[in-house]
Symmetry: C2
Subunit: 326 residues, 2 copies
Amino acid sequence: MKLATYRDGSRDGQLVVVSRDLATAHYASGIATRMQSVLDDWNFLAPQLEELSQSLNHGRARHAFAFEPEKCMAPLPRAYQWADGSAYINHVELVRKARNAEVPESFYTDPLMYQGGSDDFLGPREPIVCPDVTFGIDFESEVAVITGDLPVGCTPDAALEGIRLVMLANDVSLRNLIPAELAKGFGFLQSKPATAFSPVAVTLDELGSAWMHGRLNLNLESTWNGKRVGLTDAGPEMTFHFGQLIAHICKTRNVRAGSIVGSGTVSNKDWSRGYSCIAEKRAIETIEGGAPKTPFMRFGDTIRIEMKDAAGASIFGAIEQKVARG
Amino acid sequence: MKLATYRDGSRDGQLVVVSRDLATAHYASGIATRMQSVLDDWNFLAPQLEELSQSLNHGRARHAFAFEPEKCMAPLPRAYQWADGSAYINHVELVRKARNAEVPESFYTDPLMYQGGSDDFLGPREPIVCPDVTFGIDFESEVAVITGDLPVGCTPDAALEGIRLVMLANDVSLRNLIPAELAKGFGFLQSKPATAFSPVAVTLDELGSAWMHGRLNLNLESTWNGKRVGLTDAGPEMTFHFGQLIAHICKTRNVRAGSIVGSGTVSNKDWSRGYSCIAEKRAIETIEGGAPKTPFMRFGDTIRIEMKDAAGASIFGAIEQKVARG
């Protein structure tokens, strides 16, 4: 099934079930009003939502209406956890190579992850508001999962069983704030403003055989100012699958229902596939020509992030954001 | 007023109002059942809770019962944000001096903060469960605040107006995991297991003149295995006050209601006041004798963290935790 959260003026919005073709939707209010409630009580509520989803897909839902992604908040408008990996090691290799730094050997066995802010996510059509364009505004096209409860010490395989929903993310980054912030040693804070998510989050069965052992084997499209700049394969080159990323957090603590875990920028060794963040394009330019040429985003720029299935249908709907001064 | 959350088997527990002397409590269920609901709608709900608090303090609340801190979850059992500062620069100076590192000049003007996990907090009497004692289990006695909504670009003074509640925190750290994790560059993840909070969170008026411009001018007691090891003054040596810490987050994003912001380990230049975390004691030993002597916590160890007012009464109740293998 596919789930979304409609804006209704409240902090958590209204849960809706969306049809597979993203054409119609139906309020889930007879079952649950908020996405977090469903995650808190998944085994009881998910089957009921599944039933509504079936009716909707078969055109039998009584009060269906046209689905409008413009009305969406993030599927989970605020979350108790947002931890983002950097699971495509090719991205790390490129960025480091551009600044003549080595990738430590441990990075191939120990996932790189950061704890992000999760109190104020953006809906798929909300602007990226930034006070200062010199902060170096960049998009990062990613895949993300929402989990159920997973206990401390959980293995990667067991963690896979706890994945409830999959969606897309734009992990907006302020590149020019990153070097000084990371030099302080405590990770990201100011350099990661609000993250945006796709209109819908979907259960694994919606992904069919494209979902395989914690990796999503489909292409992620990034379109910047109307030009497709990336068509990167999210599958085989994901060095650490989602179960490994979740288990990494579980080493010393529980992961509770509604935690969101991101893949990091999807990145491929084949440069002809393009890029899922500008920083990577700039790294390639630096490696090839000694200096970056492509500037970061400007006020008024647009970014569209989408993933299509084998038949060319959009799975999650598109993230479409504009950069705004604010 | 003083608020707490009683364990009831649910994820968010039951909100209770606690009397000033921590002797009695009353369910707030006629007003709100969960702490986050109160933070989401503070201006409407807080006055009603205040009224109940007055009745309780005057012995006029009908269904009051004896307050038992053992029944408490964290005041906010899970939160949409937990960002912890390192606001007592003396702590940073000591730790760096012990490893012959300099404190960068910017650390005196730009707060050091990290984004922590907030999906699974510990109540004040819940054990610190750790799979391996060689991780280097340490307590960190801190002051923390819970905020309302604050907009991006908010000033430190305006941020002070958004502080709703104050409580104590034990920001448990796994010291021996920290060096390798921070060397990866993305901050803490595995080295910060679940944080514990005091039985009650209190509004600023409960602190009287001890709360002054974002600092809490009272002593924080840390008692390790029954021995008081720290009686540190949380006030004057807090280099960055809570408004500055919150405004630091607000530079590039909104801070939403229910965000928890911590002070970091309370630390004083006068070593005779003791310590609020073992790492600091070990730093002092290293500076004085070339090597640390005090080991980190062992399974079965206890830690008690408490703060008393000028009259000697406990303000927040005590955090009392035992270290357990798990």
